[in-house]
Symmetry: C2
Subunit: 416 residues, 2 copies
């Protein structure tokens, strides 16, 4: 969590972090959102984090004059970037935009007293990232430090403090309202044969349901991040988001996986599987097994157990009933085909994860403070179905586990 | 436009482009969206573009098995990444994740016959981008080419073909429906004193209006990208998105700048300024001048004129009436405080732009095929107001200019 950063910086011997990203990407630049929250600073911003006294962090948001109001909403110390005369800087480097950026950073670091070992974070275009960091390293006014995956911010973000969990808890509650409203929306339709029918007499489609979902999200103040609403064969392909023209029919599995975020950037990530009216026997059986695995994993959650134990257990249980798994059949597209769960927060997928032992490569546990999903599933696209059940949890520092999602798991939605 | 890519690749002596980004960022990775459209491929994808015969491009989308349905929606040639055994790859590099990624790319390039000079594009975390490109360069199986800004994709995207403009035209039409619905929503409220009142007797706030806007966008199938709905003093700060608790009152300027996108990724970008009931004299005068500048610029649009001429003209006109401008007063926060316009498409801001001569550094025109905004404004936050007027245009290759936005410019919204 954020309070770990001074210690994480000390361990990496980092004097400062610089976080920025191209114009307009701030809302999805999770490194930036981690510090600025829901402020809409989008252009020309640079965030500087330094170790302060003891466990303190000194965060300075350098922003353009045009964005001063939004910058102020961040609550951080501010520094006006518009004081640097970009025209003079361009002239001083013969119009070279890369050199101009290096010169701007040199002046900014000079004014803020940033020196020593500086880590660089945030999204950028690949080529621009490479050339800027290379040029900064050659300019030599600070020592450029870079990390590949599992960087300091990922490590900090892999555990959440109470304030972050409050956001995630709220995102989960609102998302469950969307799920409930969607179920009621489905139930409100007439039936003709095996098909749900809209008031205008046309069949209800996946596209219609998704439009309803987006309206519900907007009404509740959630930012849409897409969702999976996949029926029948599509439900058998875990990341198929569903086919807009597919008609909603009785007795077919619907995998509904929804992961919107609050304006603060924090997501929920919840999946329910539904069958309207009735469910075929083999779907019942598969969903019962998925629930059994889900319950086993939930009961095991513990911040001392190696993180691969959960997925190995899931494979044990699925294989015992004859389902293919990635452990025995890498690349399988039938049976249990993905990993068991993942951390989430400002990103829908972030550290830690519950992978197979062979893919984990260490015995570290899910750390205390992590927020994770538990989402076993079974998929048989050629038989026309798939099922998944996904709930969210916070592993408290006191060893207890808080389940963040409570929506009922009923497979069949009864219709009148 | 896309059809320029073979020639742009030839000029840069590039044999192939590789485009990818971290999991989950595909929807905002414009380099990727440029080729895959509205397909929801989000995890572990790699796009390879090669020069084919003559003016052809050979595009291959390498995707994981889990995403095969969404990958197929792209219409591109597919290559299954799940055929590479990541467990064996990890073992072969002693679990080093960076080396494993290099090895995956080596095998992929080998199987697809990618060799020679390869340009790397797409978003990534800064450090990861640097280390991956550095490791690929050292591995030496291709020559790594990187570009800083104005890269080959920016250059291609700075002009739009008819298919892209069809998307943008539709985005503009739907966005104008949202603007119209928002005006009607405002007009539907009762007035108490100088304040709009909701049916429940509470004052209408900026937050209420934004919630309405998000619902309207969702109903029309537009993806929200945030918007500016700023009243009074906030309207005087161009990038203030507005304060949710601000009450909607008569006679105060409202700057409403909205830029949602279609599921295909193409944005609109439109601004209107409104005063409810009446407008103060100085606001009338300022808005008239802004309209005058706007009309002048619109009349000048021509794909032969240096792109800086428009903004210089705007400064001429504003300065003649005594308003500060960035040309005379760099960093000013009063008067005309930003540049005149910018290209847009898959991003809200992209090439080309209409900057001041001193910031442009060349005499190139707005190219034929570009889609740009024209958005002069005047801002006096300390006086409690700001005004801006923004329309969108396509500069056709035949020399004509198509205006993409038609919403009326009336400043005052009459109330009953």
């Amino acid at each position: 969590m954020k309070s770990d950063l001074p210690e994480l910086m000390r361990r990496r011997n980092l004097d400062a972090l610089m976080i920025s990203c191209p114009d307009g990407l701030a809302p999805v630049n999770t490194a930036f959102r981690y510090f600025i929250g829901s402020a809409h600073v989008t252009h020309g911003h640079i965030l500087i984090i330094r170790r302060g006294h003891e466990a303190d962090l000194d965060c300075v948001l350098a922003h353009t004059a045009m964005e001063r109001d939004e910058a102020a909403r961040s609550g951080l110390r501010l520094h006006n970037l518009s004081q640097y005369d970009m025209r003079e800087i361009y002239r001083s480097v013969d119009g070279d935009r890369l050199e101009a950026q290096v010169e701007l950073i040199r002046r900014l670091f000079g004014d803020l007293g940033v020196r020593g070992r500086v880590g660089f974070y945030g999204l950028d275009e690949r080529g621009a990232a490479y050339l800027l960091l290379d040029a900064l390293a050659k300019a030599g006014f600070v020592e450029v430090v870079v990390e590949y995956e599992n960087d300091i911010l990922s490590e900090a973000r892999s555990t959440k403090d109470a304030a972050e969990v409050a956001h995630i808890r709220q995102a989960c509650q609102l998302t469950e309202q969307v799920i409930g409203a969607t179920r009621e929306f489905l139930r409100s339709h007439r039936i003709r044969g095996e098909t749900l029918i809209r008031p205008n007499g046309e069949p209800l489609t996946v596209g219609d349901v998704k439009a309803f979902i987006r309206r519900e999200e907007a009404s509740l103040g959630l930012e849409d991040a897409g969702c999976i609403f996949a029926i029948g064969r599509d439900a058998g392909v875990p990341h198929s988001v569903g086919t807009a023209s597919d008609v909603i029919q009785l007795g077919r599995t619907i995998v509904f996986d929804i992961f919107p975020r609050l304006p603060s950037g924090y997501h929920a990530d919840i999946t329910r599987t539904w069958c309207l009216g009735y469910a075929p026997d083999e779907v019942w059986q598969a969903y019962s097994l998925v629930q059994e695995v889900h319950d086993h994993v939930e009961g095991m959650l513990d911040s001392r157990r190696p993180s691969w134990e959960y997925n190995e257990l899931a494979c044990d249980l699925f294989e015992a009933r004859g389902h293919p798994t990635p452990r025995l059949t890498p690349g399988t597209t039938e049976g249990y085909v993905h990993s068991l769960g993942h951390g989430f927060g400002l990103a829908v997928h972030e550290a830690p994860s519950m992978r197979l032992k062979a893919l984990t490569g260490h015995d570290a546990p899910l750390p205390a403070g992590s927020v994770i999903t538990n989402e076993p599933g079974l998929y048989y696209p050629d038989k026309g179905w798939g099922v998944r059940l996904e709930d969210d949890y916070w592993l408290n520092s006191d060893g207890s586990v808080e389940r963040l999602t409570t929506f009922d798991r009923a497979l069949v939605i009864p219709l009148e």
